[in-house]
Structure formats: structure tokens, C-alpha cells
Symmetry: C2
Subunit: 415 residues, 2 copies
DNA sequence: TAATTTAATTTGACGTCTAAAATAATGTTG
DNA sequence: CAACATTATTTTAGACGTCAAATTAAATTA
């Protein structure tokens, strides 16, 4: 149960839904904000006036829209989030290196930059030395001081701990429990949060339809690894420590194929790029997984071989599909979602995977449970991890900082 | 995102938390309500005055508390939920029949009654004819009209659909998709809801500590079947159609042991009473499961045999533990909970099950994920299903009916 | 009996919302 | 082109709910 309600809560909540409407649907007129949020025109006036006064919002200076000639009356003036209200950095840490994206408050990308970094053999200290330097350089290149940045949102591949601010385990690192948030906050004095990359994909998918979805969905990522982002009652679910939905390392077969995480039988060991490749090449399930990503060209060739009649390759994809299908069946039994979204480069081979996947779901879970669930595919080309990290970070800022209103001056001390 | 906020929301929310405080902690003084809810004494006065006026609450007429002789000042007068504000019926449908419990608004049980009913062979119509008659008799016995009952909360064993108000699949019925809510609402004109029994156990566990827990927990029921209630961010999670957490029918081994649900490899086929018995008797995993519950005495004997050195029996319990352990490992990978509660008669044999269970969890999920989770055992004797159903139903009434305030009179039509 | 202590209510101010009225900015029409 | 119509936005006045502070209530203590 949430706590007590008072006029403070009312103000925060209503400011929040106004910001959220602009965040999801872009610039709009005050009337439309009213329709969107259910607030009266009077309240919208009050709220927008305040937000504009705080420089969080601005009135767009544009010529009236004449596209509909039958339109009468006073023309609208649209308002939008003020791009200069804040800047954030989204930082993606993956097996191939770092990606930095500088974004303004309205969500517009200002610059982005990729830096490859061979992280696997690095210890935590060395990694952080590099990372902090790369961030500093990125700031310098954009003529920014650290205090110009309101938040740094990190998305990392693997198991992240959002409470400790660490990467608990990742295929990009030999070492475990690498602190990330601490060093960044310490060096730059900027608030920082970390999340799992698959959760950020889920965030991206939700952002794509304006966070209008409010059911339970699972977003599956297939590629160099297998991940999942869970959306529960419309909100991306993070679990006790932000490490929820480690679908790739959910056990498929007890004592089964060996996985990068040094365990046996994980789903990923059957359905990731390297798992599929291993099966296709008829190597034993127990043969050790590689420490680096499989070359995408190799996977492309394998797909085509499977389509061209290579029986071993086709069987490898079917095996992957069966593994994912059983994983989904188990997930469905637990969570009874209404939607499953398949995403990531692995969906390119969906034609090869899907029959076995669907058969496994049918085999693995009662009809009553799976009948409702819709399976969709998300576009694979867009960089959902970055998009999602940006959306999540900005939404977080909206709710924590900008919904509250301006700092109250502490005048008492003057008396 | 929730909708807009206004003074209406404020009133509902604050009335709600006041009701909730009394619901969880019982009668208390207005001062304490203030401390509990964070509301000012003035607001508490306003709210309690209104609730008392609406006969939802009442002031207790009791002698001042003299237990602490050093206590000075005006004595408190405690208030409580008015038992006569409403009555509810909790109805439990299980393989052994129906159980009806009449409860007043303060949560006090007025009467309860068990009726055994051989439901398995019944069709939906016959079952409902019996059920409606049993409810009618129960009302008559307590000299109640249907309209004296504010809500009927049903807990059923198996897969329930809270949207359609049906039992989608249950071991108590041969037939599928049995409508329950519809017939009851139609005949008695009383609002009715249905939920899965394991979810109601979870509700009971949460109620037991005053709904103060707000993390993610899984409550596992072990007995004639295997069930799970999931608590996500402090709320019992029901999924898209109320059929969440069908842990017992989550697949354990593809193409594995045959289950009552007519599928193969479900966890329940290894870890329920009949599954354990089947293994202990060295019958094949494929041999058909029984259609009725295993006699508790048989299970008790089996436990003692296992403890007394019967190797087959001990192995059966270990096999059950391993199945549950892998199921939990998979659940942990998906949901990263901080708490697992084991409940139900099956926990009596926990000594036999636990080693294999813990080993399986270790084998089945990365350390980073399982390190946080605490495994507890709930008392097995209390009837958690009924307790939980009552708690859930009353809380539902609190939030839907009694938080709103009295009906507004529609005076306009008089003009 | 008067002072003290704690509980509960009353009073007056404050913040936010809303409906209705007023104002603003445009198009339409005779 | 002036008056009217239309749509957007702001202003005004009133409603509702909270809270701090003052007041009243009901007990104990001295």
C-alpha cells in the first residue's frame, strides 16, 4: 500500500503525467495535454506555466498549423520538454566495448560514440580506469563539465546488481562483481544507475508504444547470448537486485550443455550463437564455450546452410528453438503473460527456429495458459538497448527530479 | 502510469490506508492510526468521523486501559472496523469438496461448514446445481438473505481464470472450463471473484505479517499437488487471467513423467504426493496418475519408511526435492526473488526433501542470483487457503467499496 | 481543587483542482 | 471590413482535503 496522500502528492502526480505525455507523444498543444491526462484546461495552464517558469518546458515558437483549412478558432501553441533542462549520458557496456550516447532532456541524441575495449582479461580497476577516461574524453569532446550531466544510465550485458551498482557476472569479463556505479559517481559527482541490457530492450519496446501497454509481457533477446526483459503490469520488472529475468541462464536440462557462465544446462548453451554453432558442428554439448562473440558472418552462413538443406545446421536451429520454447513454456506457467516479443539478431533465423519453438511451448505448458499469449517479433535493426536506456533514464529523471517542482528555499535560517 | 490526481483520490487513498491499518493491526486509538498512517490528528478525526457516520467503523465501548499505572492523561478510545458493515463468504473448492466460511467485516469468522462432494465425474451444470444449493442452504442455516452478503470469494484448486470466472482446469474435475462466478452472481446477485488456491495461500502468508513485506517472494505449496503463489513487489501476482504461478505444471523434464494434467514432465509429476508415491513404489514415470488424492496416512507411512532406511522411499523424496529445486532455480533465474516460503503438508517431509532441493538450486542457477534468496517454512497446520481468501476478499472490499465514501445522491433529476 | 498530561476536536490557512466566465486569436460572413 | 463564430488559453471563484495551532476533553497527580 502506498502512503498517505496530500496536495503535495497531487501536484507531483499531475506534473508527472504531463511530463510523461510530452515524453511519450512529443510536442503538443495544451488542449491535447488536457485530453491526454484528463486534467482540466485550468490545471493544465497552472502546471505548464510553472514548468515553463522552471525551464523544464517551453512554448514552441512556430507558425500556426494551416494544414487543415477548415480549421477555425484560435490556433494552438504547442509546448514541449525543454531540451536544455538536462543532459544525460547512456553508457552501454558489452562484449565488444563501450558505447556512449549524449542525449538532451527532450530525448534528442546529441552525439554518440563507440570505443572498442578488450574487457575480458581486465580486472575491475583497469576496466574502471579505462572507462572513466573514456567518459572524461567524451565530455571534453562535447565541451561539457561533469555537472552539466544530470544522470549516467548504464546498460550492461550479463547479471547486474542495481543495488550494489555492479556487474555481478558478465560474458564480457572474466572477473566477477565489477563495481561500475561507484567509481562513476565518485569521479564525476553525477548520479548513475546500472541495469541489465535485456531489461533495457524491454524498456525500449515499451517506450516504442508510448508505455501504453499495461499487461505482462516477456521480451526475449536472441543473439550472442539469450536474455529476457520482463514487463509486469506495464512496468519493467527488475527483481530484488535488478538481476531479474536471467532467461539465458535459466536451466533447460539438468546437467546439460556447458555454458559460458561455467554451469551446465543453461538455455543459452543451446540457443545462443555459440550454442547453435556448437550443435551444428556436431561438437559435444560439453565442449567449452568460446570467450568471445561469434562472428556474425559465421552465423549468417550457418543460417543459409540450414535453409539450403544442411541437416546438421537445421537440427541445431531446431534444438535452439526447442530450448527457447521450453524456457518460454516454463515462464508462461509461472507468469501467465499475455504477450511475448522476440527480438535481437537471432530473430533473423526465426523461420528456422519457430516451428520447434512453438511445438515446445505446446508440449511444455497447459493449453489454458498458453492460449492467451501472443507471440510477436520486434524489428531487429534498431539499437533497442540504447533506446531503452535513454527512455528509462529520462523517465527516471522525470519522476525523481522534475515532478517535484523547484527547490523550496530554506528561509527559516535567515531569521 | 496512474491517472490524474485530485482531492477525490486523496480522500480515497487516505480512507483506504486508515481501513488497512485497522484491518492489519486490529482496533486502535485515533492517535495510533495517525502514527500508523502518517496523517495528522486533524485528518484522522475527519476521516474517522465520516467512517463512523457511514457505519463502516465504530468506536469501541470499553473501560480505559489501566495496565500501565504510570500512564497519565486522557485515555484513548479505540476504534475498529464495524463487523456489521458487511458479511462475506469464502468458498473453497477442492478435490475433497466445498468449504464455506461466513465472515464479518472485521474478519471474524461467524460460521464455517464443510460439504464433501464427489466432483470429479460431474459436469459443469451438475456441479453448479449442487454448489448453488449448498450456498443457499448455508445462507438459510445462518438466516441470511443473499443481499446480506457483500461478496463471495472463491478459491479453487487448479488453473482458474479470474477474467472469465471459470475453473479452466482442475484435478477435482474431469471437465474443463467450468463456470463458477457467473452462476453464483446470477443466482444470488452478489459480486463474486475466483482465484487459484496457491495464490490465496500467498495472500494468507502476506496477511500474516500485516502486508508489511514489499519485496518479491514465492510461496510454494507442497501436498496433493504442487502450487505456487507469487508475490511481486509486495502484491500477490495474478497474471493476465489469474492463472499465474502454475508451478506444479511448469515443465521439469521435457517428455518426462506423466502428470494428472495429461501432459508429461510437469514438476508435480515428480513432487506431489502421487508422484512421490509412484517413484517410491518403483512404478514407471509413465504409469498413469490417480484421479483422487493420496490418503494422507499412506504418505505419512512413506515418510517414516524413508526415515527408517527404505532406500526407494528416500530416493523418491530426493527426486521430488531435485524437481522442486530445479523449478525454484528456474523461477529464481526469472524473478530474482528475495524470499521463498515453503508451505503445505508436504513440508512435513522437508528433512527428506531439503538436501536434494538445495543441491538442485545450487546446480541450477548462478550464485549471484541465488545468494540473496532466503528460504523459509510456513506453519503447516493452519488453513492458509481460507485465511488468505478471507483476507483478499476483505481487502478487495476495502478498496473498491469502503474507500469511496457514501453514495452521492443524484439530486439533479428532481429539478 | 488546581496543575499536568495525553487524546481528540475545532479553527483558520493553504494548496490543488474544477466549472464557469473572461480573454485571446483566428476564420467566416454579410 | 465589422460583427459573429469558433477554438485555445487564462482568470476567477468555489470546493475539497490536509495540516498546524488552538481549544476542549478526560484522565492522573500533587
Amino acid at each position: 500500500m502506498r502512503g498517505k496522500a496530500d496536495s503535495d502528492l497531487v501536484r507531483r502526480q499531475n506534473r508527472h503525467i504531463v511530463l510523461e505525455a510530452l515524453r511519450s507523444y512529443g510536442p503538443m498543444a495544451r488542449v491535447d495535454l488536457g485530453k491526454m491526462t484528463g486534467l482540466s484546461p485550468a490545471s493544465i495552464t497552472t502546471i505548464t506555466t510553472q514548468l515553463i517558469g522552471e525551464k523544464v518546458m517551453l512554448e514552441l515558437d512556430e507558425a500556426p498549423d494551416r494544414s487543415d483549412p477548415s480549421r477555425r478558432g484560435r490556433p494552438t501553441t504547442r509546448v514541449n520538454l525543454n531540451p536544455f533542462a538536462a543532459r544525460i549520458i547512456a553508457l552501454k557496456i558489452s562484449i565488444s566495448g563501450l558505447e556512449l550516447v549524449l542525449v538532451d532532456f527532450s530525448g534528442e541524441i546529441i552525439t554518440r560514440k563507440k570505443v572498442s575495449l578488450a574487457t575480458y582479461e581486465m580486472g575491475a580497476d583497469e576496466f574502471n580506469r579505462h572507462t572513466l577516461h573514456i567518459i572524461q574524453t567524451f565530455l571534453d569532446e562535447n565541451k561539457l563539465e561533469a555537472e552539466d550531466v544530470a544522470h549516467i544510465g548504464v546498460a550492461a550485458q550479463g547479471v547486474t546488481d542495481s543495488v550494489l551498482g555492479t556487474i555481478a557476472w558478465s560474458p564480457a569479463f572474466k572477473q566477477r562483481n565489477i563495481p561500475v556505479v561507484g567509481p562513476i559517481e565518485q569521479k564525476f559527482g553525477v548520479r548513475c544507475t546500472i541495469a541489465n541490457d535485456a531489461n533495457m530492450i524491454a524498456e525500449g519496446v515499451m517506450a516504442a508504444d508510448g508505455y501504453s501497454y499495461d499487461g505482462t509481457a516477456a521480451v526475449v533477446f536472441m543473439g550472442y547470448g539469450v536474455g529476457m526483459g520482463l514487463v509486469i503490469d506495464g512496468k519493467v520488472y527488475h527483481g530484488a537486485t535488478g538481476a531479474a529475468a536471467e532467461f539465458g541462464h535459466m536451466n533447460h536440462i539438468p546437467n546439460g550443455a556447458s555454458c559460458r557462465c561455467s554451469r551446465a544446462g543453461c538455455l543459452e548453451a543451446y540457443a545462443s550463437d555459440y550454442g547453435i554453432l556448437r550443435s551444428a558442428e556436431n561438437r559435444s554439448d560439453q565442449s567449452p564455450p568460446p570467450s568471445s562473440a561469434v562472428d556474425p558472418a559465421v552465423m549468417l552462413a550457418l543460417e543459409n546452410a540450414a535453409r539450403g538443406g544442411d541437416i546438421d545446421a537445421a537440427a541445431a536451429y531446431a534444438k535452439a528453438g526447442r530450448a527457447i520454447g521450453f524456457g518460454l513454456a516454463r515462464m508462461i506457467a509461472l507468469l501467465n503473460p499475455d504477450r511475448i516479443v522476440l527480438a535481437g539478431p537471432g530473430t533473423r533465423a526465426l523461420d528456422l527456429i519457430e516451428p520447434a519453438l512453438r511445438a515446445a511451448i505446446e508440449e511444455g505448458v497447459v493449453e489454458a495458459l498458453r492460449a492467451q499469449v501472443k507471440i510477436e517479433t520486434a524489428p531487429i535493426n534498431t539499437d533497442m538497448i540504447v533506446t531503452g536506456t535513454i527512455a528509462a533514464t529520462l523517465r527516471y529523471l522525470d519522476s525523481t527530479v522534475f515532478s517535484n517542482g523547484p527547490m523550496k528555499l530554506q528561509v527559516e535560517s535567515l531569521l
